[in-house]
């Protein structure tokens, strides 16, 4: 199975390493044309304002609407989660707007407030060491969105059909279980016909 990591800016190599560790072929995606080669895409952590601008500039915003229509799974971590969200607190526009949730950027504060903690994630047995860096939060989700993890009563991981969004950075650990979970989603949606 071949998946991609959007490589406009951010922690790309780390995602590729863990996707391969979890058993996939993974490539960095810099051009829209590469989307045809892959069955799933990771939107990595980085700066959402930077990645969002570059996505628009190179036509990823429209190409990913199509990717989404084809029910190909997309997995956003941190900045990637912001890119997926339908609504972003404090601003009247979004990036891709694919996932029915409202997120808040830098919800825990500045870098000195960044932290790591053991987290219980639905669908993943045993705790996961979650690294939060200037992380966003999910404030609200639509009824078609399944909450997968919460920290301090606030949502930090969620899934909507073939879309997965998490606030933290599994790619900064050596634990490939979240990436494995995403690859199962890719497997599940392979060959699903476009509606």
């Amino acid at each position: 199975m071949k998946v991609g990591v959007l490589a406009l800016q951010g922690a790309v190599a780390e995602h590729i390493r863990l996707l391969e560790q979890a058993g996939a072929d993974a490539i960095p995606v810099k051009k829209v044309s590469q989307l045809a080669e892959i069955q799933g895409l990771v939107l990595p952590g980085g700066e959402s304002t930077t990645i969002g601008k570059l996505m628009k500039q190179y036509g990823f915003d429209t190409a990913l609407q199509q990717f989404h229509q084809e029910k190909k799974p997309i997995f956003g971590t941190c900045a990637g989660m912001i890119l997926l969200a339908k609504e972003i607190a404090g601003q009247d526009w979004n990036h891709l707007g694919l996932m029915d949730m409202k997120v808040e950027r830098n919800a825990f504060g500045r870098q000195r407030e960044s932290f790591e903690v053991d987290l219980d994630i639905k669908g993943i047995p045993e705790d996961f060491r979650a690294v939060f860096i200037r992380a966003p939060l999910i404030l609200e989700v639509g009824k078609n969105v399944d909450v997968l993890a919460s920290h301090d009563g606030q949502i930090v991981a969620a899934r909507q059909d073939h879309l997965l969004a998490i606030s933290f950075h599994p790619e900064l650990t050596d634990d490939e279980r979240v990436h494995g979970y995403f690859l199962e989603m890719v497997q599940e949606y392979r060959g699903v016909e476009t509606v």
Partner: protein, 294 residues
């Protein structure tokens, strides 16, 4: 248990900046221009390096008002510089809430022997280096990110190229060494042995490695990416150019697509004049900022 300020959290922050451009700014207005152009972070300063060079005298930490104005103006991370060895300036910056501290040779050093013990801080640090030994000494002290020193405020890329080439060549050499040779090489480089072991096994620094000190054009940024940099700092290069908005955007794009030469050609068209450069050999030894740090 919740843990803040772990090395994973501090180094991870720099990982998120990879493939991006960090821009020097001196006020809220410039910070907004940088953010709009797609900068991944801004460095809040009282003067850009070219003006520090021109002004002479002692260069210190910026006025906290400037740092706070910039922090209020943008949602991207804000960095600020402390003098080498000046741990009180660093503690002040940490208290202000900056996201990253640059213990920087651009400012006048406060200590001619010791750098800051960066492990004591919750906020991460970036430090300059000219070669592998210097980079590993800084990482040994707790730096979570390394950048080349280059020669700041000159708009001349030659020193940054020298430093990145040196670092990459030394990394390859250590990687190819036999295990038996590592301790002697640690002594030779003046670097912690454990970090040399890491380089030997992994063929890269354990932290993100950016380019800095002389980047003035989109092609300069792309060149540094080719030489193995994870991203680029641009100091005077943007706001000392004719058209900061366009230079900033073009450098961001060239950093992302550093292998797309047709695009870099497009980006470089009609940009206006880049900052006026300085030939390195015209600098006196005491005017060379890269010589600061030990």
């Amino acid at each position: 248990m919740i843990e803040t300020g772990t090395s994973r959290v501090k180094r991870g922050m720099a990982e998120m900046q990879k493939g991006g451009v960090i821009m020097d700014v001196i006020n809220a207005e410039q910070a907004k221009v940088a953010e709009a152009a797609g900068a991944v972070a801004v460095m809040a300063l009282e003067r850009v390096p070219a003006d520090i060079r021109a002004a002479g005298g002692v260069a210190r930490m910026a006025d906290p008002t400037i740092v706070e104005d910039v922090m209020k103006a943008v949602s991207i991370p804000v960095m600020a510089k402390a003098r080498i060895g000046h741990f009180v300036e660093a503690k002040v910056l940490e208290a202000l809430g900056v996201d990253y501290i640059d213990e920087s040779e651009v400012l006048t050093p406060a200590d001619e022997v010791f750098h800051i013990n960066k492990k004591e801080f919750t906020v991460p640090f970036v430090c300059g280096a000219r070669d592998l030994g210097e980079a590993l000494r800084r990482i040994g002290e707790g730096a979570s990110m390394i950048r080349t020193k280059g020669e700041p405020g000159t708009g001349n890329i030659v020193e940054a190229v020298r430093h990145q080439r040196m670092m990459q060549s030394q990394i390859r050499k250590v990687q190819a060494m036999s295990y038996d040779e590592l301790m002697a090489e640690a002594k030779n480089l003046g670097a912690p042995y454990e970090l040399l072991e890491y380089i030997h096994k992994n063929g890269k620094l354990p932290v993100v490695n950016f380019a800095a000190g002389g980047v003035a054009t989109p092609a300069d940024a792309a060149l540094m990416m080719h030489l193995g940099s994870d991203g680029v700092f641009v100091g005077s290069g943007i706001f000392k150019s004719d058209n900061p908005e366009r230079f900033a955007k073009a450098i961001v794009e060239a950093t992302t697509h550093y292998e797309d030469y047709a695009l870099i050609g497009q980006l470089s068209k009609d940009l206006g004049t880049a900052m006026k450069g300085i030939e390195i050999s015209s600098l006196l030894k005491n005017e060379r900022m890269a010589e600061r740090g030990w």
